[in-house]
Symmetry: C2
Subunit: 359 residues, 2 copies
Amino acid sequence: MKNNLHFLLKRFSFAVMKTRKVTLSSIADDLNVSKTLVSLVLNGKADALSINKETQKRVIARANELNYKPNQVARGLRMGQTHTLGLLVADISNPFYARITRTIEHMAETEGYSLIVCSSDESESREKHLVKMLLDRQVDGIIMTTTMHQPEVLKEIIPTQFPLVLFDRYLTGFDSHYVGVDNEQATRNAVKHLLDLGHRNIGFLTLTPNYISTLYDRQQGYLTAFEAYNFPVTDKYLLQLDYVRLKNKDYNQITQFFLENPEITALFTSNNNLAIACLKTVKELGKRIPEDLSLITFDDVECFSYTAPAISCIAQPLEKIGEVAVKMALQQIKNKRIDSQKVILQTELIYRDSTCAIN
Amino acid sequence: MKNNLHFLLKRFSFAVMKTRKVTLSSIADDLNVSKTLVSLVLNGKADALSINKETQKRVIARANELNYKPNQVARGLRMGQTHTLGLLVADISNPFYARITRTIEHMAETEGYSLIVCSSDESESREKHLVKMLLDRQVDGIIMTTTMHQPEVLKEIIPTQFPLVLFDRYLTGFDSHYVGVDNEQATRNAVKHLLDLGHRNIGFLTLTPNYISTLYDRQQGYLTAFEAYNFPVTDKYLLQLDYVRLKNKDYNQITQFFLENPEITALFTSNNNLAIACLKTVKELGKRIPEDLSLITFDDVECFSYTAPAISCIAQPLEKIGEVAVKMALQQIKNKRIDSQKVILQTELIYRDSTCAIN
DNA sequence: CTGAAAGCGCTAACAA
DNA sequence: TTGTTAGCGCTTTCAG
């Protein structure tokens, strides 16, 4: 009976110990000192205030013993800094964004920041909603790819001077930090390469909505390549796929496109998903790459290098983009009020097996 | 001069207005009511307390006018609920995790939860660090793939009863909610398929660390397939790649493996990255798939279906996994104290062109 | 050298 | 029907 009671007691106190939150006050109470002291010591500000070494040791010892970890929410409220960054991408399952996310996460983590990640699905209203959400959650900064057409909405909901960096896509009329690549030039060079190989009937596959800067610029690159060589552009060789259909793997538009334009000998696709969609369609139609169709695409994904044939593409410096984005965000957070800067990084045109001279 | 002053004043008040945070108190002060009232009204608890409709309208009007949005950090501190979930995966840039993340994010968002995402890079110490971080940030629950060998560390840092769900990998000796697939069975069936096709010299490519449950179970599946058919297992046909080397795209081990075991006619790879590594190596060595080597892998990624040849694989129900994980987490958060349940989902063995009968 | 007290913005008992 | 008050856990003047 006695033992039993003992046992219960022990279990009880154990449970309590496990459950009771260890806070600054609890440590302070334990040690009969003030919260201030504990806070000071634990934040390394004790030496500056020349606080008794012994006291410091006692505090630290007790904190370790109880495994004290400051409540970051309380801290965030008090300091007005959550050490959290919002990352808003179009679609986290897209390898392009997933890989950038990884870099961003690592960089942020190194600097003591966490990431709240969200996907807009290319929806303006969702994007608006999510940005508001991030702001409500008091993130210290936002790194995002916008899907907006006009700058007004963002201007309205994001306070001036709020640490913000746009990457991948910029928004005309919206002055902010930005990091990305020269989409027009990269595309122009790729299309010129196709022209140099003798192709004239070159298709261009892109996505809705067309006002997204990257998509728009890539299309410009296609057009200016023809312009530079003084070749006429055939309008019907430009196909704009519906984003939602692509997501749902409805490739009918592409099949139609190939059937209606059998004279096409080369194709440029505006992103990795389009390239993949195209490869599937081509396979179904029994066309061979590159014999029947040369293909070159924007964005490199792992598999493009080992497929048969390997796919020629324009590779973006993903790690670098993430790196710069985080640096820009932290810069703004720390120094406050920096003129917005734009960083344009180099792309790389990778020649693989999917392109060949016209025969 | 007068105009100038006017201008300055205007700019000043503008700046102030833009800058001044709109809080409960500011609204309350504006309207000469108490914070309580405002809070009640804005949280829809006004009717229950039968508060004057007129007052309610005034509050709501003013709140809209000032575009008031509650500070979620303050709210989180006060309510002890941050409406934030921690998501810890091995590597967010791996399409397998990226796609699950997408579902999880969407589900969470629908329920009013945000996601703090982090990658452990298969490092136990990093994982430990990140879990602690998430806990410090007061997330309401954690959804994670563990990379731990032993349950002790997690047991130590995660409070009992804390809403937690493990997915993909389980941890023996660690009792928690779990959602995943039957890796052993799925692999066994795939390897049996290879055996049925007449292959006997079947390689098995896996990763370090071997104690990760999914990897271990897949290996068991390989072994038990041979066992079931009473065929002997050749130890040297099992190759375990170093995770870091794989990440760094150092495929020498694989090349060696093929050179040393030219008699191998079929290969099972334990995940998508290994399959990709293998495809690259095979290409370099000039081996043809499936003529010289039949390949089947765990995990389906988009490109496996359109490569030439398309790759046979075991597909996991990614969306479903994410869905169940979120449901389990929210269940625990809301109901508190639910017996930990394990959900094992069905995999699908997809036969494509990379496997054929031995000739 | 150390402590008391204020306050970040919010919610919820408890009064009135 | 509305307001007062306390407090979540923390940092930070300002006194002592």
